[in-house]
Amino acid sequence: MRFIKARLGYLFGSTKGLILVAIAMIAVVTAVWGMLSGPLAELGVREVVVRLLGMDLVQAEREGRIIILYHSIAMAVIAIETYMVTGLLAMKPFYKTAVRALITPGYILAMVFGLLFAYFGHNWAFHGLYIAGLTLVFFAGVLLVIALWPWNREYHQVDPAYARTRGGVDVERVAFFATALTTVISAMFGAVPGSFFGNGFQTFLAENIIRLPEKSTMQYAIIGHLHIMLALIAIMITLIVGRWLNFKGILHKIAMPLMILGTIVLNLGVWGVATPLEPIAHMIIYVGATPSMVAALLLLIWSWGKLMRDGTAGISRPSLGQKLSALVRDPLKFGPTWQMLFMNFTTSGLGIFMAVKLDEIFRVWPAREERIELTGHWHVLSAIIATIILLYYGDMLGLKGRLRQLYGWAIIILSDIAFAGVTLFEMKRLFISEAVQQPLVNALMIAMDFALAMLLVVLAIVMVWRLADLFRGRGRWTEELNHELAQEVSK
């Protein structure tokens, strides 16, 4: 009994344990549900999985099922980010405990019962538990907003190296606060139309209605919700990475106000799509996205500079090669900001290119091609966020030496191969016609699927290792039990 109690204490009572559980949950869902589509479906694996697990896949409910699947995974990701925020930032112990006590059963209920409801017949009690889970996550968010209140004197920033107001308010904490607050509001922004369309599975995927000239307010709200939630998850992970790497100095002082401004304006623009402001909402969104992306760029410049400076500290006049070598020496520290940069090729740059050439190129193609681009770019963005979390998790694990290099570079290289493949697949019509595309599609599919499969293998190895570790009396888990992320912030 003591054996189980100690392990449960680690898994549900420590920051690293909670993050491990959430990553494991996502890994299991990704592994099982990944077999329902793509190459494994083509190979007939889906039929086997469906039969084996007794799934009930009603054709008319596919869109509803997928939406619940997305939400299941998203809740676990939000939980991971919440654990990180509560582990990195100072807050009253009560709030820290309460937020975690709400969000942990919340995402697990949403995930387990959401998927049971969606894929295994409609037991409405399960649906109720799914909604209860989402509600708990929501209230954890509300509590997190309260816990992050930055104008409390005890959270004032005393170190002049960090962004702060004249009165001492920690501007970085304001950025966390603004992101958490707008996330909670944006969750409501989705909950209302979600309840409207979700009742009886009468829902839709946004990419399927994108070309309709007339959309209802509720439809706009759904489109706005899915965009802003992903953007906010991305903004939050950027702030988390900044805190983990100990972002500071002049660039920090410029970046944090930009992050706050960007977050607020971005949200106003997205909420505006469901109001009479809709015709200019996109312009507001662009205005909001720009400072957020500039802030992320400043983080990248600062962190790369620091990696190069730290890595060449013993060299009086380091050459460019020595600096570059220092930059890539630690993949876990270099990777997160590299992935943010890479995102500009696969997501942001692509999105801007699509927006500029929409009527000229993309709207000449059939809607199905546009759907591939839309779903592709946000899948890549989601996956980039996931890889950044995994890179940070690698650092949390305390990986060292060759193992650290292998783990870090495997995540970076494999995911970037897959993301590049997806991007080429999305854009293939620019350089190849439908009639002759198959060999290119096959080559890209092999690259994407191989890279993603290997990435999952790496993740599986880590999960098995962590599982085995739990059976050891003095395993690594005992060291992590009382470690807090704030203690491990880079110097």
């Binding site: 596919r62 009527d359 809607a367 002759v436 198959q438 060999p439 096959n442």
Partner: protein
């Protein structure tokens, strides 16, 4: 060597894209389904769309199969001789009276004038023109006509006094009066229809990918060692799911896009569900898009 690896991989990927034989040999199977046949659909209510909303149509007749390449070649010969269409460089064009333009965001003008019916210079075009006569490419006579724009489909139907089906008519013809997702029932198997990686005898995913099957192919017959399931719709139509997307006739206010139904050889089975819509500009032509008419 390590530095060159990404470049080599990219080159290999691009080079593999250059080796598609669009005229690779084609199995020849007789389906026994006549492309000249029509099916009657009675007036009355039916379930429309994913959420099975009540809708109704008048009575009409609909082609049992998609228009074939041979039928379209014959039409072009007659229409060219009669001045209904004309050659304009490497394409066949015909007159369309235009749509009302409302200036809605993303809407493009469709003015009255000559619009493309079919491109002749596209290597995927299965109707060949030798300077005097249009003929179906060998082996493709009974395959659905593809590489035809919405104008070309509209023009074909109009030439014979028919018209393109509305989306409602198309869906009712495929679905009947119950809520089934596929023309034949609730579930789909690989030998119900021609879709992406469905392993039909016309497909080779290692080289040219998926190709069209002859109209009416999925009728329960066995072709060589490939057994099909009888996938006829409640009103006796074939290929209402898969093989080629089918143009429909609705022109919607404030948008120039034309809608297609049915999914195709190039799409996953989710797009074969009867309520799924695709759309494109009316000038769009593809090896995966065809049509049938109603009257």
């Amino acid at each position: 060597m390590k530095r060159c690896l990404p470049i080599l991989v990219l080159l290999a990927v691009l080079l593999t894209a250059c080796s598609v034989d669009l005229n690779a040999s084609l199995p020849a199977f007789e389906t026994g389904v006549s492309p000249e046949a029509w099916a009657s659909v009675p007036a009355g209510e039916f379930y429309f769309g994913q959420f099975a909303e009540a809708a109704s149509t008048g009575a009409y007749e609909v082609m049992v199969t998609n228009v074939t390449t041979a039928q379209y070649a014959a039409f072009l010969n007659d229409a060219l001789a009669g001045g209904y269409v004309k050659l304009d460089g490497d394409r066949v064009v015909g007159y369309y009276p235009g749509d009302e333009f409302r200036g809605v965001k993303h809407e493009e003008r469709i003015d009255g004038g000559d619009w493309i019916f079919v491109p002749l210079d596209d290597p995927a075009q299965r109707v060949k023109y030798d300077g005097a006569t249009f003929t179906a490419q060998e082996g493709y006579a009974h395959h659905p006509m593809t590489m035809v724009s919405w104008f070309g489909a509209w023009g074909y139907c109009g030439y014979y006094g028919y018209r393109l089906p509305t989306e409602a008519e198309w869906e009712k013809a495929g679905r009947g009066t119950d809520t089934r997702p596929f023309p034949w029932g609730e579930n789909i198997r690989r030998n119900n229809a021609n879709f992406y990686a469905s392993r039909d005898p016309f497909e080779d995913m290692g080289s040219f990918g998926s190709r069209t099957t002859p109209v009416g192919f999925y009728n329960g017959k066995t072709y060589g060692d490939y057994a099909t399931l009888d996938s006829v719709s409640p009103y006796g139509l074939y290929d209402m799911a898969g093989n080629v997307w089918q143009w429909t006739g609705d022109v919607y206010e404030g948008m120039h896009y034309r809608f297609m139904r049915g999914g195709s050889k190039d799409t996953y089975e989710m797009d074969l569900r009867l309520w799924v819509r695709n759309n494109a500009t009316p000038t769009y032509a593809s090896p995966g898009v065809g049509f049938r008419c109603v009257r």
